[in-house]
Symmetry: C2
Subunit: 622 residues, 2 copies
């Protein structure tokens, strides 16, 4: 007890070569046959003994008789015994059906592939611990090797635990009951396991009950699984039984690791088999498994654990991190100018989309308090470098049309990295050269003109052009039926009304302030004025879930969540492009799409948008 | 006719999300549910209304009653209505079972994941044309999306043609008849197709017969295949029918492309479906399909064709290339000092192992005659950058023990790139800093000492250490039974004996010359003295196949091919390591293995090797 028993690791099996793609060789593989297996014509023509051709020249051609001292051969066929070269068909002048002349000699073995030219029998074709490619399968068959010994796929049992969990498949045509949570961690881990060359089997969902978890683990250990993963209950809550169960049945080697996400990880051993208690938050479950689970699979398969490729990038923002633990940040990457820029995604371990959106991961070591904006960091890549090269970085104000734009651009091989930091944040990104384009809808209170005055103020040293994105309706989002009877700005200051605001620097907040001023309303009278959200949808969610009674945002966001919408203003949402980026093919494509009929129709269908002038370059007002 | 009919491309299908790994979305995917779907406790503890906690401090704790103004919650569970924050269990001081005190307030929404914090229903989770990852499957299930619309896998028919072909499976326990060739191109192409997301089906082997090929193509076109590939017969030989068949049934768009390998490629269309005539040499078939076939599959799936990642490298040798055609060179890569060095592999399109051994591919454009030694080139990567980083570059004399060494090193995560250019070539590689280690067995005719005098002469500016590899028997390799009765060096000069030599600079050739001089034999009297091979095994093959009656080489090579062996000398085969590389972990590992019992036993088993002093650092003679 207490020791992982490597002798019970899955070992190897012999499988047909044609089914061995991506499997790992468990021993060196030797050629059974030489390639080629005979002296082979490398050209279509006539096989001859080379010395018979010596002396042939334009003014003294030599003649050959087919079947006597020359034999017709096609590429890939053996040359007859007694011959050692091939005259190319293009180089013979036929005298009649059975004889021809040549005007140039061939040297011995010309146009012939000799026996064993590629490899000879008994030569090593593949070393051990090698991942078999399609090319390798060709080489193995070519060498007469029709079966290979490869590492058996490790079989891993995943035990999802949690009384609140329901299977994804049970929700096919309905929505979960209040409080039910969809169990998807097992599918996440299954995917990682199968990509790593293992086989994942998921048990029934087990409730938060000591005996049930214990029984599930015993069943797993006693079956032919090579490893068992209990997810989750690996922390120290009242219903976290994983550690206690592993302790009872075997031994805990590690409980809790100095990393984030992934801290509540348990590594243990039961009856010689590795057992893992894996955290419940999906991002934590992934990092924990990638760091501790995948290397076990790699060891079982006999492959050196494969590190992700890395790329140097500069951080688009300051990132702070706690001393004493290694912290993993998911980042979006894009190439702006000559630099790769890494924009950190939200760090919440519960947000699975921070993994789906990420192009890479930054590790901040435990002895560091974080990194400064612009600092160079090494990024472990999740995306292909080519994809990063083709990524358009858009930073600024959030609008739902950006998602549609991204979906259109992918058809042109362009990927979009969009960060929602508000209009002003977008302008600052251009100033720092960390974005190709900023999105902005900042209203100048004096002139009533959008964006230009802000650009002059914040981007005085960055020459830009402004292109109209959309005109969009802004309004109040309220619960269906408008229970609080919100009609206009004056209602926001009512005692029985809670508002939810956007963050400072957001265009929507500037718009709100403009109207509050116009109507002489004191912002400090508005309950919730300081409650900040970063996107239209999160404002809508705050209203939907009762956190607030009313928020300001666009029609599309209200519609998406089934909220009522009281329009209060039409505003201009623009794309701000530094002149130096105007030649960038990705920017050119984006501007083309903005003007396209298809895109305009798609946006119009969302409701609340005016697209007449979309993509139009705006003339700077005097 | 003559046009590829894109409307008949495979289109899309709806499949369960849990089976969608690596598939390509055919439309944007929107969340059906928000995540989280309710206000969720992010910590284990007690849910409260935050304002009830305001004012709590160490000297003025506030007390709560469980079930009245505080409710126990576990991570992941909903917080009760009327609460908006969670006090961590670690921060409460229990007064009794039903009440506790706190000394610190919580702010609204502290330790709570709000509805829709990650995403809200109707939000786009994945754009179209996106390859689904395990992370994505998690996100989709989390959003209640249990099925997704993805591109149908294109179904491609491969028709192997050639009267000389036999299936690999027919050879399971026997060897091919003389002249039979194993059909493995279909397995190569199948592998590429399945990796690219298509489905390959291979027909029976079709003989070189116009009508049979025609019938096979008609059957393919009339079935539900999306594309048909005829391999081979795409050239202009007497039995090359592919072009004629495609012409009769449809239209040829391209016949012959300016690339090497891959020139005899046919692109055509029959009944609106793409048809490809693909070359017979395996490397040509691969390049042709990668350049012309894979983009069709990518278009059918709706993905932007994915380029391979690239890496800058410097060429270890001069590479010449013909003007007027794009040429593709397979290369081995390794990091020597700070440079990535690319060593070109043999260019023969029939040698499938040039693909299995390659770490990357260099393209030399049609308007270039080649590249100089040391020139920077862009390499399209076939191996992981990490693997290249961990590759030990060994250049010089060939010995079978290098393969065993490579197989041992892979266990330590080290890969070996070995080029066989003879002992002298190895020393020159060290001089040019294109290798970590050279292998050499150069005998000084004066002193009878190996390697040191050559090192002094050719590496005067590169301080090195020499480590003994093996002592090995050199001898004459002759056909079984020694039909020519070869006994000693004098027999090589016999009129009825043809010799096969090693290339200039090879240690074996130096050894031969030493003995010829010693015995007073005139090299010009030896028939075949100028016939050069580059490795022991290729010399053995030349003898086996009757090209020569005798050659000189090591016992292991003779044994592997069932030749008789007449020992004539024992020589010293060494590893030469520049001092600056002695600290390299890869070199350290290699030297350790040389000294290890396991390795020595493995080499001894090959026969003809002495390993007593293997791995020992040799002292420079005065």
């Amino acid at each position: 007890m207490g020791r992982i028993d490597r002798s019970s690791f899955p070992g190897s099996e012999r499988i047909p070569t044609v089914e061995s793609i991506d499997r790992i060789t468990s021993e060196p593989v030797y050629a059974r046959l030489s390639s080629p297996g005979f002296h082979t014509a490398a050209m279509d023509g006539f096989a001859v003994e080379a010395s018979n051709t010596f002396g042939a020249a334009t003014d003294s051609p030599l003649s050959f008789s087919v079947g006597q001292n020359a034999w017709a051969v096609n590429t890939g066929r053996p040359i007859p015994e007694g011959t050692n070269s091939v005259i190319m068909i293009e180089h013979v002048n036929f005298l009649d059906d059975d004889s021809f002349e040549i005007e140039k000699a061939v040297v011995p073995w010309q146009n012939v592939r000799r026996v064993g030219e590629d490899f000879v029998q008994s030569e090593m074709i593949l070393a051990s611990r090698h991942r078999i490619t399609p090319y390798d399968i060709g080489a193995l068959l070519c060498g007469g090797v029709t079966s290979v010994s490869v590492g058996r796929k490790p079989k891993i049992l995943l035990i999802p635990t949690g009384s609140e969990l329901v299977t994804a498949s049970s929700l096919e045509n309905c929505i979960p009951k209040y409080g039910d949570t969809i169990e998807f961690n097992s599918h996440l881990l299954s995917g990682l396991i199968s990509k790593a060359g293992g086989i994942a089997v998921t048990s029934e969902i087990v409730r938060d009950n000591y005996d049930e978890i214990r029984q599930a683990l015993i069943t797993g250990i006693e079956s032919d699984y090579d490893m068992v993963v209990v997810n989750a209950g690996s922390s120290a809550g009242t219903e976290d039984y994983t550690a206690a169960v592993i302790s009872e049945l075997g031994e805990i080697l590690v409980h809790g690791v100095a990393m984030m996400p992934g801290k509540p990880t348990i590594l243990g051993v039961v009856a010689g088999k590795p057992v893992m208690g894996s955290p419940g938050y999906p991002v934590s479950a992934v990092f924990s498994f990638e760091i501790f689970g995948l290397p076990v699979i790699a060891e079982m398969l006999g492959v050196p654990g494969s590190a992700r490729p890395t790329m140097a990038a500069c951080s688009a923002r300051k990132i702070s991190s706690k001393l004493g633990r290694e912290e993993f940040f998911r980042v979006k990457l894009g190439k702006v100018g000559e630099r790769i820029v890494a924009a950190p995604l939200p760090r919440g371990a519960g947000s699975i989309t921070t993994l789906t959106k990420a192009d890479g991961v930054i590790r901040i070591p435990s002895n560091t308090e974080g990194i400064e904006q612009g600092a160079e960091v090494q990024v472990e890549l999740l995306s292909q470098p080519q994809q990063i090269e083709n990524t358009l970085v858009i930073i600024g104000s959030h609008d739902l049309t950006i998602d549609c734009l991204a979906d259109e651009l992918v058809e042109h091989g362009i990927y979009v990295s969009s960060s929602h930091v508000g209009s002003l944040g977008g302008l600052l990104a251009l100033k720092n050269d960390t974005a190709h384009i900023a999105t902005s809808h900042l209203l100048d209170e004096e002139s009533g003109i959008y964006n230009w005055s802000y650009v002059r103020k914040f981007l005085s040293e960055v020459p830009v052009e402004i292109f109209q994105g959309v005109m969009r309706e802004q309004g109040f989002m309220v619960k269906k039926g408008n229970p609080k009877g919100i009609k206009d700005f004056n209602d926001l200051a009512r005692d029985d009304v809670t508002f939810v605001n956007r963050q400072k620097g957001a265009g929507t907040r500037v718009l709100l302030d403009y109207y509050l001023k116009k109507h002489g309303i004191d912002a400090s009278k508005i309950k919730g004025y300081n409650m900040e959200e970063y996107t239209h949808t999160s404002v809508a969610v705050a209203v939907l879930s009762g956190v607030a009674n009313v928020g300001m945002g666009v029609l599309a966001a209200a519609r998406a969540l089934g909220l009522d919408f009281i329009p209060v203003a039409t505003e201009q949402y623009d794309f701000i492009v530094p002149r130096k980026n105007l030649d960038d093919w990705k920017v050119i494509n984006l501007l083309d799409i903005l003007k396209s009929k298809r895109y305009k129709e798609r946006i119009s269908a969302l409701g609340g948008y005016g697209v007449e002038r979309s993509g139009e370059r705006l003339v700077e007002p005097k």
